[in-house]
């Protein structure tokens, strides 16, 4: 097959020693890191009381639970479940949208390519970290003090804690944006607002849309806050049915949430590809 001359390995080796005998530091860095990651992992397993025997016996239990789940059956609670799902969807949609709207301007301040100064960016990023670091439960309690028990408090609690997450995620999306397009706007005499509106937004919008829809989806299934603030919610129903071991209802609820999530997933995909459009022709 080969018509190429055989290379002179020894001559090449003396000429480019780095290529053939990479220094130990370069060769061992990666394996060493993987080893460290793995070692901590194993330590964790041991420390947290993992045992293969427990795992095997548990798996058989899981199989047994699965059998109990068939067929899914809502019993007489279907209307209650539907109401809970609707309520949860409302809360998630509203809370996440609020969070996204509030986070967009702040995320600009947290992005390296907009605010190059570390000194200015640092407090913004730490502010976002803090908002995220405060448990949603606490945000829920804070809002109960303002608007009382009810779904509205849930909306506000979700809005605040997702605000922290969005601020971080959006700013990373902005940092990954193509600088050339922004420069094109600047070179035509656009001001900072123009650069953001025309140079950045078209690029980051699909990423942002995907993330927002993902959070709506994720909030729809989360059990905690929505229950705490006194708004029922589908996640709470699910947790409760599991606690009382009503497996058929459990599987029905899971199916319901799956359908809702799949629907959001589908919208998300549609939207993302609508914005991304066909790939550029090469």
């Amino acid at each position: 097959m080969s018509q190429l001359p055989k290379p002179d390995t020894d001559a090449l080796r003396t000429k480019y020693p780095d290529v053939f005998d990479r220094p130990a530091s370069a060769r061992l860095a990666m394996p060493a890191m993987i080893l460290a990651v793995f070692a901590i992992f194993v330590f964790g397993l041991v420390d947290l009381g993992f045992s293969p025997a427990k795992l095997v016996s548990g798996l058989s239990q899981l199989g047994w639970i699965t059998v109990m789940m068939i067929p899914p059956d809502p019993g007489s609670s279907l209307p209650a479940y539907l109401a809970a799902l609707g309520e949860t969807l409302s809360i998630a949609l509203l809370g996440t949208t609020l969070a996204a709207v509030a986070a967009l301007p702040v995320s600009l301040l947290a992005a390296r390519n907009i605010i190059p100064s570390n000194l200015l960016r640092f407090p913004v990023r730490r502010f976002l970290d803090s908002v995220r670091g405060v448990d949603t439960l606490i945000w829920a309690l804070v809002w109960i003090n303002v608007v009382g028990l009810g779904p509205f408090a849930g909306v506000l609690a979700i809005a605040l804690s997702d605000f922290g997450a969005f601020g971080k995620l959006f700013s990373e999306a902005i940092e990954a944006a193509d600088r050339k397009q922004v420069e094109g706007i600047r070179a035509s005499g656009g001001n900072a607002l123009h650069e953001i509106r025309f140079g950045l937004m078209p690029q980051v919008l699909p990423v942002i849309a995907g993330q927002v829809l993902y959070f709506i989806e994720s909030n729809t299934r989360s059990a905690t806050i929505i229950g705490i603030v006194g708004a029922g919610g589908i996640g709470l129903q699910l947790a409760e049915q599991i606690r009382v071991l009503e497996w058929q209802k459990v599987s029905f609820l899971i199916l319901m949430i799956l359908v809702a999530v799949a629907a959001i997933d589908w919208i998300s995909g549609k939207l993302r590809f609508a914005i991304i459009g066909q790939r550029a022709i090469a």
Binding site: S77, A80, L137, A140, L141, I144, N145, V146, V147, G148, L149, G150, G227, I228, V229, G230, G232, L236, E240, Q241, R243, V244, L245, E246
Partner: protein, 289 residues
């Protein structure tokens, strides 16, 4: 009455009892009854956490709340202006229940002393019968540091989980609530067949043994905001006491036939619980030093 214009709407907050499902369906008829009696709108709020109810009452946007004993004491202790006016009467006429320690009947344990170094399953930090009273009882038995005395003390999250953990052998002893043989988390779980032996056969009442029973714990109160007008307060209390006679259907739906009625009560009745809570808090300080 002028309070009707000042309080066109009242909020009634309920935290589901640990084992209740379908709380909304249970409470809705009763709240409708209450609304009819008071002549103003009453909104039912089911919260999943007493902390939320306490914060809500503190801010003044929850007017009536159903508390557990410990949570009510906690609310009073942290300065929430709330007053108890009633609590439940059990089917047997008593107004209290017990915190008990269960072990498996097949085990050899007869008393707490034999359980040193074994695992204890509690319910959750704010549960009266599942945490506060058990710790109080242990202290009375001379075990002031439960976490040091037992091998592990775990919060299982619910009364059911504690019993599950016991039946599966994860813990050797579990604290739980118990009113009488017919009325307890255990009896409900057995009734539903939720507890099973390793071979899959359902467990029976005889498979468990109580090794310690606490002094009676008073049932949790219904409490209203102290700032409400006196005649509104009176109207609320009256509506509660009359419920079993005036709207039997709604009351039975609420109590599942497990309760006889509402017992008029005052905040003073929970002084003992407040002492208990103070004791539990003192434990934290002790650990600190």
């Amino acid at each position: 009455q002028d309070w009707k214009s000042k309080y066109p709407e009242l909020t009634f907050a309920v935290v589901p009892a640990e084992n209740a499902s379908g709380v909304t369906e249970r409470w809705t008829p009763f709240v409708a009854y209450l609304s009819k009696e008071l002549g103003i709108k009453v909104t039912l709020r089911i919260a999943n956490d007493y902390a939320a109810v306490i914060e809500g009452q503190r801010a003044g946007n929850i007017h009536i709340a159903s508390y557990g004993s410990a949570s009510f004491a906690r609310a009073r202790l942290t300065g929430v202006k709330t007053d108890a006016f009633a609590n439940d009467i059990n089917a047997d006429g008593s107004t209290g229940y017990y915190s008990v320690f269960f072990v498996k009947a097949s085990s050899s344990y007869k008393n707490i002393d034999q359980l040193k170094g074994k695992n204890l399953g509690l319910v959750d930090p704010n549960s009266t019968s599942g945490n506060n009273v058990p710790r109080f009882e242990l202290d009375k038995l001379g075990i002031s540091d439960a976490d040091g005395y037992f091998g592990k003390v775990v919060f299982t999250g619910s009364h059911e989980n504690a019993m599950l953990a016991l039946s599966q052998g994860t813990v050797e002893v579990a604290a739980n609530q118990w009113t009488n043989d017919e009325d307890s988390t255990l009896s409900q779980m057995l009734h539903k067949g939720m507890l099973k032996n390793a071979d899959g056969s359902p467990m029976k009442k005889d498979d468990f043994r109580i090794i310690h029973k606490s002094a009676p714990i008073i049932n949790g109160p219904y409490a209203y905001n102290s700032d409400l007008p006196a005649d509104l307060k009176a109207a609320i209390a009256k509506a509660f006491t009359e419920a079993p006679t005036k709207d039997k259907a709604a009351f039975d739906r609420l109590s599942d036939g497990q309760k006889k009625g509402f017992n008029p009560a005052t905040t003073k009745d929970w002084d003992g619980t407040i002492e208990l809570i103070k004791f539990v808090d003192a434990l934290r300080k002790k650990k600190a030093s």
